[in-house]
Structure formats: structure tokens, C-alpha cells
Amino acid sequence: MCARRPALPWGVPAFIVTSCRLPSVAGVTDQLAVRIEGLTKRYGSLTAVDGIDIAVAEGEVYGVLGPNGAGKTTVLRMLFGLIRPDAGVLEVFGRSWEQNGTDTLAGVAGFIESPKFYPYLTGRKNLQLLAGLDGGAARERIDEVLDVVDLTGRDRDKVGGYSFGMRQRLGVAASLLRDPRLLVLDEPANGLDPAGIRDMRALVHRLADSGLTVLLSSHDMAEVEEICDNVTIMKTGSVVYHGTISALRAQAPPQAHLLRTTDDAAAARLAAGAEGLSVATAEGQLAVRGTQDAIDAYVRTLALAGIAPRSLTLGEAPLEALFFMLTEASPDSPPHGTRTDQEALS
């Protein structure tokens, strides 16, 4: 049973998932890889993470999305035991830091922000050292993981000479050494060039397809949309959306067409009576939303009225627009500040 939220600003009824069981995703089991309830972290008067709940099922590809400063990385740092929560429950495969110490991370690998290595050692030496810290058995897999991330041939170069993208890939290799069941990636495509982003996403896709549970943090809606099954959207330490990508997509506004004409004011007036069309003025141009047929008809009407279109371009992607609405509007706006309910995580 889902709780109905107030309508979103563009008039689409919103089902922000506050109290409904998450829809099942193919290949996902009932066992939780990550269970977070009421997790809170404060730095003095600043609440970096404010009582959030997240549940990641095994086999799932889960996205934590939010702008910089939303608290995504803080959550992941708490997951890895790098910082201690002030309140709440955090379990990984049913284990917690309080009860299991470093065993909490058994079967877990990943990196926080950009992966860091010892620059005065070679890539291979770094991996050997990290494999040693994992008990040594992973040393046999170094060649294998280097091949996966395509660093074979550069593995005997010092990391200090690696490009940013190569370090990101070495970070993935270091994670794979642990043969993880849960891979946690924090902004894996951050700082990469377009080709690097494409390759990183392809790699994450392949890892996810192999059955790995992936917890991905990102500020890029397109990245999360492409890779993830479920998503939690955070804003200033709180969850503002929690649900499936498909449900989020259903709530997204229709994509706007951005229109400039010889007479925008007259064009806006003409749109007032058009069926299935909404026009708003935005940043010196008209944002036109409606079905393709309605927009086609509107353009013809403009021409008949002697108003010449000077440009008609596609606006931001619907999910992107929804993301900005969720994370940039004031806290009083309806969808903001909503929390994932405990029930959704059970």
C-alpha cells in the first residue's frame, strides 16, 4: 500500500514512496545486503545525514542520488566504518560494526570518492599490498582483475604517473580483488572524460549483470537511470525520494520544448487556449509541454498568426528535471523532506 503524496508542481500526482514495499526487481532476493534505519551523523550543529533509511536487496543495483553536499558520501563512509554514526542502524549482510568489527566488510568492496593509492608504488604493488591486507589469497587474482579494467601493461608503472581514469579503474580492480558480493561505488564516473564515463558505466553494467549487488552513489541522474533498479534521492542529509527508477520516471514531467519566437508574449497568449499544451516563460524563452501532436499544432498556429519560431529545442530530460525539482526547491515544497518509511524496508 503506497501513501499518496500531494501533487507535484507540474500537476502530476506523485507517489513518493514513503510507505510501500519496493517493487521486486528481477534477480533480486529478499535478503538485504544493506539495511540502514534512522542513520544520523552530525558535525557540531550541522546534520550531515538526518535519520535516513535505505534498504538494498541482494542482487540489486541501487543508486543513491543527490547533489554535492547531500550526504551520500557520508552514508557510504559510515557503511565502511570510516566514520561513526551518531544514531541509527547500519547492517551489511546482517552484520554491524558494533558487533562484528571489520568482519562487517566481509564480501564488501568499493571506494569512496576517488580511489587513492600510494603514488610511489606501482599499480601492481599497490594491489599486492591490498591483497595482503585481505589475507593474501587475492594475490592470485591480480592479473585477472588488471585485465578486467584494462590496466595490463601499465601495472608496473608507478601510480603517481597514472591518469585520473586509470586510478579509477585501479580502484575498481582493487575492489574486485576482494571478490565482493556488494560493490560500493561512490561517483565512479566523476572526473572521467566522456569515453571513460562510457567505459566505466559499461563495466558497472557487466558487474551488475554478473549478479553482484551494486550500491552506486552519484549526482548524475542519467547515470543512475541507466544503471540502477532502485534509487534513493537525498537532499541536505534527508531522503526526498525512495523508489524504483520506473516509478520515478512515471512521476517525471513531460519533456519541455524550449521555444523562441519573434513575439514570445503573443505566442504565450496563443497557447492559452490550446488543448493538451502548457506554456511557461522560463529564462527568456518559452517552455512548451504537451504531446507531440499538440506541439505540432501549436507551431502551425504560430505560423498562421504570423509569429515565426526562431528556435525550438528539447529541454532537460524529464528525470533530470524531476531531480532538480526534488533537490533544488524549498523545503516546504510537497515532495521534499519526505522519508522512507520503515515499512518500505521490511
Binding site: 533480486v28 561513526r84 566481509a106 569512496i112 599490498l129 591486507l133 593474501g136 566505466m200 554478473s210 553482484l212
Partner: protein
């Protein structure tokens, strides 16, 4: 990146039991890992090379000059090969020990902050406690090796270049070469406890400041201040508690009769400094949030 490559052995998919929990690395593994890192650092090798090469150079220079009569054993450097290592020992205690040991100990924790690698290490199967003790052992190992190299190089080079004549004691007695060798070696050994104390101090500064420069320079400055304070009169109660005081405890070995009480007092003082510094460093590392990098 080629995206068509085969994945490594990966989990079989949802519901599979997954790999067994990683075997804990333990302090031993983490210690070997620290030693490997230290061995790869140019700074470490340079410090050891300096400890090996500088004493013979100093002996060579002293051999061709007027003896520095105003320093302890300075007047005897041409008379006995056992006097030169003691002169060097006195010099080393002033600045060299704190500097050389803090080159590693002052950097060993802070460098993880500098490189942002705490998160790399602590997201593996190793705890903060294990990393702390591994790093502490590695820094102490370096201090011991450094002292050993410095002592060996000083004694061997001066015996080769000056000779193994009898040594004049601090109370004017003559010490036979065989016994002098043992006493000189013992004198260098008495510096080990305060050296470990300085190592612990450097570790504390390294952990707390998270800044390699503070970790390296701090002990040198503190050592210098302690030396100054120790040379001022009217601080009878404070002087034995200074970490620099045990560095002079070897003097009692070269008197007749010899006195060892100050040596054991120095060991106790060094142990207290070591314990307090390590406790504070350990507490700080255990408590702190790893937010950098």
C-alpha cells in the same frame, strides 16, 4: 577500456552464499606491508644510507683536524678509536636521533592523510588497531635499525681509521680495548629507549596533526627545547623527566666506579613517554572520523 573482457570469478548471483569472509590480515601482515612501503620510500633509504656513510666521513674529517677539546671525548679522538663513537654519540643525541627517527615515525600516519589512503586501507580486512600497531612496530623497527647502523658504522670506521687503543674513562681511568668496545656498544644501546620515546612522540604528532611536516619537525623542535631546558639550572625535579636526559645516561658507564641507576631511570622515563604518547595516538586514531581523501 575494453569493455568486452571477461569478468573475474564473481559471485554466482542472487542468493549465492558468496565468498567466505576475508581472513583477517592481522598485525603481522600489516607490519610486513608497512615495511614494504618504507623500503620503497627514497627518504627511508636515504636516512639509512646517511647513517652508514656519515660516520666514516666525520671520522676522516676529525682525523685531519685539531681535536674538539671542548666536547666530551673530543680531546681523545686522536688517541683512541673508541673515543670517536662516543663523541658521535653525544652529537647524535642532540639533533640527529629526533630527526632521523621522525623522518619515518612522523610521517607514517600523516602520509596516509596526505595521500588520502586511509580509506583505501581501512576498507580492507584490517582494523584500525592492527594498522596502528603495525605502523608503530614498523617505525620502531626503523629506529632500531637506524641506531644499529649508526652505531656499527661509527665504531667500525673509527676503529679502522684511528685504531683500537685503550680508552681514557671520565674519571681518568684507563679502559682496556676489549672492555672499551663493550662499553661503547652498551653506551649506544642505552640510547635505544629514549629513541623509541622520540619515535612515539613523532607518532603522536603524526596522528594528531595529520601533517607530515609537523610529525617530522615537531620532535626535533621538542628535543631541542628539552635540551635547552635540561641545560638550565634550578630544574632538579623536572630534568629527570625530560626525554633528552636518558640520552646522556651512558656517562655512568665510563666512570670508576660506574653507576647504572641513571640508566634504569632513563629506561623508565622513556617507557613512560612511550606509553603516554602511544596511548594518546591510539586513542586519537580510534576515535577519529576518516573524512579526507
Amino acid at each position: 577500456m575494453t569493455t568486452a573482457r571477461a569478468l573475474p570469478t564473481t559471485p554466482a548471483g542472487p542468493g549465492h552464499a558468496g565468498p567466505s569472509p576475508a581472513r583477517p590480515a592481522g598485525v603481522g601482515t600489516a607490519y610486513r606491508w608497512e615495511i614494504t612501503k618504507l623500503a620503497a620510500l627514497v627518504r627511508t633509504r636515504a636516512a639509512l644510507a646517511a647513517a652508514l656513510v656519515l660516520p666514516p666521513l666525520v671520522v676522516l674529517v676529525l682525523n685531519g683536524q685539531t681535536p674538539p677539546v671542548d666536547t666530551l671525548y673530543g680531546r681523545y679522538v686522536h688517541d683512541s678509536g673508541y673515543a670517536v663513537p662516543l663523541l658521535l654519540l653525544g652529537f647524535a643525541t642532540q639533533f640527529v636521533y629526533p630527526l632521523l627517527t621522525s623522518l619515518v615515525a612522523g610521517d607514517i600516519f600523516a602520509s596516509e592523510d596526505h595521500f588520502g589512503t586511509w580509506k583505501t586501507v581501512l576498507t580492507r580486512s584490517v582494523s584500525r588497531s592492527q594498522v596502528f600497531w603495525a605502523k608503530t612496530l614498523a617505525a620502531s623497527t626503523f629506529a632500531v635499525v637506524l641506531l644499529g647502523v649508526l652505531a656499527t658504522s661509527s665504531i667500525v670506521s673509527s676503529l679502522l681509521l684511528v685504531g683500537h687503543q685503550p680508552l681514557t674513562g671520565l674519571t681518568g681511568q684507563t679502559i682496556a680495548p676489549g672492555r672499551a668496545l663493550g662499553l661503547v656498544a652498551a653506551a649506544w644501546a642505552t640510547d635505544l629507549p629514549p629513541l623509541i620515546g622520540f619515535t612515539a612522540l613523532a607518532i603522536l604528532l603524526s596522528v594528531v596533526s595529520r601533517n607530515p611536516a609537523v610529525g617530522v619537525v615537531g620532535p626535533v623542535v621538542i628535543g631541542f627545547v628539552m635540551s635547552l631546558v635540561g641545560s638550565v639550572g634550578g630544574i632538579g625535579l623536572l630534568r629527570p623527566a625530560l626525554l633528552t636526559t636518558p640520552l646522556e645516561s651512558w656517562h655512568g658507564l665510563f666512570t670508576d666506579p660506574s653507576f647504572h641507576g641513571v640508566i634504569w631511570q632513563g629506561v623508565a622515563v622513556s617507557a613512560v613517554w612511550t606509553a603516554v604518547c602511544l596511548f594518546l595516538a591510539y586513542s586519537s586514531l580510534r576515535r577519529r572520523d576518516i573524512t579526507g581523501g
